[in-house]
Symmetry: C2
Subunit: 369 residues, 2 copies
């Protein structure tokens, strides 16, 4: 029998797992939220993962269950594990990607560098943290935030009184960083762990816009420290599949862990063309407990640029017409302002040239801001 991987969620990450599943000879089944999803080609079922019977029926018919996103309730996942389903990553790991406060607590107990942080339950507690931080802090809702949503830079606890009415708020030091990086790590249940080369991520308005692989401005010590942090988190939290550790780099060159994602991640799209093993193939190999592939880069430099708003046929053709060196990935989504609709990758020997070409191609057909 062919091994079956089930993916909860029909977004672009599930879509980009399809080619990897085909190459490996795995059967992939996707539980999509809606008809016509990004991953519709392998969407064997359309349903609500928050409905226990829908999720259970889907999960018990696959060999391994994994995810396009981190939103599946962990109590459901615990019940699936109790029923013998292989859930990768498991709920005891996934909770740290769902709940940023739980993540801060957990990471504080292992040897990884963190920004200052605290959990505030009242405006007064938030004010006290802000005072300690010199008048400014970053407030985050522990759950549900992404791409800049659920994040506010505040100078008074009253700025998040609405959030505090709903529950505790994570307060974090506003880090004075010089750049942001992402360390990706693959880990399989039986223990093999493979860190990817560190990449630099360039955010615009809290959303990842560009990724450079490998991260420029790094030393061998930097690179090994980033890999150490990534592997330690993967092992300590028992993460399986792909883990993305987003980090700040301070002016003194130190890393501070910002966010975790336990799935293929926007910062790893660059590896599809840029590395021997794409993050999508690596994720499927890891969650299936198959041998992991090499993360070795194919080129001195690769750059990924997100395509926001629209990646329909017309824009894609314009981009391809601009340069034969550009590889595109459209997500099959209807155009909508600001939406991540696709991405492109350019590789080459000179970073300046690669970056300039990727940016110019990404600007073609882009809606003016």
């Amino acid at each position: 029998m062919t091994y079956v991987v089930g993916v909860v969620g029909g977004g672009q990450l599930a879509r980009m797992m399809i080619p990897a599943a085909e190459a490996l000879g795995l059967d992939i089944r996707i539980l999509a939220e809606v008809e016509g999803s990004s991953a519709k080609l392998a969407a064997s079922e359309v349903g609500d993962y928050r409905d226990w019977s829908t999720l259970r029926q889907f999960a018990t018919a696959v060999n391994t269950l994994t995810f396009d996103h981190e939103h599946v309730p962990t109590d459901f996942l615990h019940r699936l594990v109790a029923e013998g389903v292989s859930v990768q990553p498991g709920p005891d790991a996934l909770v740290f990607a769902q709940d940023k406060a739980a993540m801060r607590h957990r990471l504080s107990s292992i040897d990884v560098p963190l920004p200052g942080w605290s959990v505030a339950e009242t405006v007064e507690q938030a004010d006290a943290f802000i005072f300690d931080q010199g008048g400014q802090a970053v407030a985050k809702t522990p759950r549900g935030g992404y791409d800049g949503k659920g994040v506010r830079v505040i100078s008074s606890g009253s700025d998040v009184s609405d959030w505090l009415d709903a529950g505790p708020v994570l307060m974090e030091q506003k880090v004075d960083f010089v750049r942001e990086v992402s360390q990706m790590v693959a880990r399989r249940p039986s223990g093999e762990t493979v860190p990817y080369p560190l990449v630099e991520t360039i955010q615009k308005d809290g959303v990842c816009a560009e990724v450079i692989a490998p991260a420029p401005h790094t030393t061998p010590d930097h690179i090994s420290e980033a890999a150490r942090i990534g592997v330690l988190i993967a092992e300590s939290l028992d993460v399986t599949g792909m883990l993305a550790v987003e980090m700040f780099v301070t002016s003194s060159g130190d890393f501070l862990v910002n966010e975790l994602a336990m799935r293929p991640h926007n910062s790893g799209h660059v590896f599809t063309e840029g590395a021997i093993t794409s993050q999508f193939e690596q994720h499927l190999r890891a969650v299936s407990d198959w041998p992991l592939g090499s993360p070795t880069l194919r080129h001195p430099w690769s750059v990924m640029v997100n395509l926001f708003g629209d990646a329909g046929n017309d824009r894609i053709q314009q981009i391809l017409d601009y340069s034969p060196l550009v590889s595109v990935h459209a997500y099959g989504k209807a155009a909508r302002p600001g939406r991540k609709a696709g991405h492109l990758v350019v590789s080459g020997d000179e970073l300046d040239e690669v970056l300039a070409l990727a940016r110019a191609a990404g600007a073609i057909g882009a809606a003016s801001a």
Copy 2:
């Protein structure tokens, strides 16, 4: 509306067009011969392409019609063209991939080097050609042969009397070649033509077993002559999509055109990992008349090795366990002796190492001959 490419045939070539269609944001629909085909993920229909109403219904609902194989009757394709369907490659080109005698006639009128050839309708005519060739020749059925089928090395016309009973037989010089190469070319209907780097193909028992990109033992003159031949054939025969020109290299270093294929081809699988633009993506771009991509190689050397017989989960896992540097492509086929069930690709800086690793990986789990 999203552009729709329809593919006749559900084999591994159609299967490997699926990731390319997803990346480009094209809708791909496949008319497969059977349920459970290699390309089942996008098999929107199962039916017989030799049935006019089945083919017509499928073809008239897509923006461009293309092929996984060359077997669709050209009279059907002429009728589709007359109805306004964009058939790529068109029947006037495709006939030269279907009928080897027609191909020899056509290529004799343009400036490309061919082996000696003749069409025999009787045993006596076959004997006369064999005599001219010094006692041995290669006989081919003009239609239907592939992977060594429909080909015999003969020393007497009576060796093909069974074939002659059914119709004319193509007689060709038995070329004393030192190696075989394949020149792939992409061409779009509006005329843009992109030749790929020449590759060497290594056949076993008349079947492609290994491909090396770029072809070793070549000079710049060789490379430009191969590209000239490929581009001339593509333009002269009005081929669209991918064209593979298989050629012999003689001991004096000359090329002689052996076979043509007008679709992605086994000798081009190496470009998926080895080049900026895979042959599957290039084919879809070409038949859709979209801008073509760069064929530039990502690595000094890439080697493809076919996996015969079986590429099921167990064998694939063993291969991946052997080396993290191996990329695999399983075709989702049931195991059967001698069947092309998948392939693998290894890339790197040193040909000896890449070739040794690819061969060793390909031997893992292989049935003993």
